[in-house]
């Protein structure tokens, strides 16, 4: 979270439950304020932060804690070994035998504050010992001391000497947003209570690819190429499971579509490693709430992993107690992501009951019915995405991508009909129209994600959209836009398939209850009016400019 994003979050925040805490660090804390308030606002909380004055952390630890105040200490090596503080310069000489005494004293003082949340930043230290190898050993010893106290480890790169020298703030601009989020996470989480349930998305998380479109042979989860990140993720999940963590999957697919990879014998995880694999087109928050209820576990015991920021926002808004983590988009982000998971699910002692827990809960969940509950209202979140929908008139020129989309999309597909370029060409020559649409938002460019083919008589013959952009209201906005154009389509050639339940839900919403396959009438003016708010979520680019 960069500075301007933090300000945008705060500008859009309309208040929430107070989140009060005191932040202590050996440096200036005040520059953190905007980032801390934004990180809290993202969780629907209004942060009220009291900063310990510069260089008073050591004194503060000698006073008994106020039981009414949540304390967070962002610790640096020189909180344990004062001679290591860069602002004091390099010590002329040190008694290496006694360097560790103050560290033990600080650790003892921190241990008397079991409710305090600790984070440790292993910043580099100036030379202290007679040999650099001893300095390295000292640094490792301090780090292990902090970890032993239950501190969450922050990346060493978060430290900046320039800022620490000039203003006393030890965190650099590149990291301050992420460190603020870690601080807020530490405040919100209960200390010492590991999470119990890891609920994961499947497509592009458990494996690379979209199972329903790419098929079992087209997805990747093996230790090679694009499957590597997902193989490592599954390996960690397997280890967590053996330590007693319950694993569950929630996917916008049919249940029978998503189980084959687990039954293939080629993946690290098998079906019996998960307490539940929930395939449903309803809001993921509703599925998670129902799962927690049936497991008889609190929502604050759950962690949810997804690659889609909209799904993460929906769950986060509806179930703020659930810890939401984004699956890394790049390999370089994988270590920090796995570290977060390992920390959240840390179990010191593994019992026989831990090992058997999955099977126990699988028995409990046998016959669980997916919930139909509503999800969160994402309007504010979607507005903040600053989405741009560029509509392309593909009736002339290159229609390759539009035809490709029609022929590979299964879930959001009007009728499952496949088309050839020749068929499309003939229809267009006779006066038909072909539209494409591309989506971009502040999370990136999603490319061309929608195609719609309208026959000369005004019947929509194909309408498909990539499931990557579900929940962004793109399909409603496009239809509202199309309905307001000259000669809008007045009917859709609907057919149910084994996989297009999401389209069926959409169609019932825009055209009323369905009565079998065949032509479904559309009243353009009514559609345009009913979904004008969806269209208003987007900046729509002029199609004349987007051929």
């Amino acid at each position: 979270m960069n500075f301007l994003e933090a300000r945008r979050v705060l500008d859009a925040f309309r208040g929430g439950e107070a989140l009060s805490f005191a932040l202590g660090l050996s440096g200036t804390g005040e520059p953190f304020d905007v980032y801390l308030r934004a990180a809290a606002a993202k969780r629907g909380r209004a942060a009220e932060v009291r900063f310990l004055p510069f260089n008073t952390l050591a004194q503060a630890l000698r006073h008994p804690p106020d039981p009414g105040v949540t304390e967070v200490f962002l610790l640096l090596p020189w909180d344990f070994v004062p001679e290591a503080d860069w602002r004091s310069g390099v010590a002329p000489s040190v008694d290496e035998q006694r360097l560790r005494d103050p560290a033990m004293e600080t650790a003892a003082l921190l241990a008397r504050r079991p409710a305090a949340r600790l984070l440790y930043l292993p910043a580099p230290m100036p030379p202290l010992c007679s040999e650099r190898a001893r300095d390295a050993a000292l640094a490792r010893w301090i780090e292990s001391l902090a970890i032993g106290l239950g501190a969450r480890l922050l990346p060493a790169e978060a430290f900046t000497l320039g800022g620490y020298f000039s203003s006393g703030c030890p965190i650099g601009g590149a990291w301050i947003g992420r460190v603020a989020e870690a601080v807020v996470e530490a405040v919100v989480g209960r200390p010492g209570e590991p999470k119990k349930v890891l609920i994961t998305d499947l497509d592009n998380v458990m494996w690379n690819g979209l199972l329903v479109d790419d098929g079992l042979d087209g997805i990747a989860f093996e230790p090679a190429g694009r499957g590597y990140r997902h193989f490592v993720y599954q390996s960690l999940l397997r280890r967590l499971r053996s330590g007693g963590t319950l694993l569950a999957a929630v996917s916008r697919n049919d249940h029978d579509v998503v189980t084959p990879p687990f039954r293939s014998g080629r993946m690290v995880l098998r079906e019996e490693d998960l307490v539940a694999i929930i395939g449903s087109y309803h809001a993921k928050s509703a599925q998670i709430r129902e799962l927690a209820r049936q497991l008889n576990l609190g929502l604050d015991a759950c962690v949810f992993v997804d690659d889609n920021p909209v799904e993460l926002a929906e769950v986060s808004l509806q179930l703020p107690e659930v810890r939401c983590l984004a699956f890394p988009a790049h390999d370089d982000e994988l270590p920090a992501f796995l570290d977060s998971l390992a920390t959240l699910f840390a179990h010191r002692d593994i019992t026989a009951e831990d090992r058997e827990r999955t099977e126990m809960y699988r028995r409990r969940l046998a016959g669980m019915v997916p919930s139909d509950l509503e999800g969160a209202d994402l309007t504010r979140f979607l507005e903040d995405l600053k989405m741009t929908l560029t509509i392309h008139d593909r009736s002339r020129g290159d229609w390759t991508r539009a035809v490709q989309l029609i022929n590979k999309t299964n879930q959001f597909n009007l009728n499952g009909r496949r088309v050839t370029e020749a068929e499309v060409g003939a229809m267009l020559d006779a006066g038909g129209r072909l539209f494409g649409a591309s989506l971009a938002d502040r999370t990136g460019d999603h490319g061309e994600i929608l195609a719609c083919l309208v026959a000369p008589d005004g019947t929509m013959q194909s309408f498909v959209m990539s499931c990557r952009v579900f929940q962004r209201r793109v399909e409603y906005a496009f239809l509202a836009w199309l309905a307001a154009q000259p000669s809008p389509p007045t009917a859709l050639q609907w057919a149910s398939t084994s996989r297009n339940a999401p389209f069926q839900q959409f169609l019932a919403e825009v055209a009323g209850p369905l009565n079998g396959n065949g032509l479904v009438r559309l009243v353009p003016a009514a559609v345009a009016a009913r979904h004008a708010q969806d269209l208003a979520l987007f900046i729509v680019a002029d199609p004349a400019l987007a051929r």
Partner: protein, 84 residues
Amino acid sequence: MTEDAEAKLQAIFRAALELPPHANVTRAGQREVASWDSLAHAMLMLAIESEFGVAIDAADQIRLTSYPAIRDYLEERVARGAMP
């Protein structure tokens, strides 16, 4: 400096120094802007680091006390290839 980068720098100035949305900041200096105290300066430097992906040395942080100075500094970093 590109137009986008210049617009971003101006947005950072207005937000960090709590200036009105359309305030002209292109000649702003620490002496003239009342809200530009030491804390605001620390926040401004962090904001620039976070938005432009640079780490600013302490000596530079202390001398970068006006919009033109900061703009020139960022341009010089770009010219040296020291900025992404």
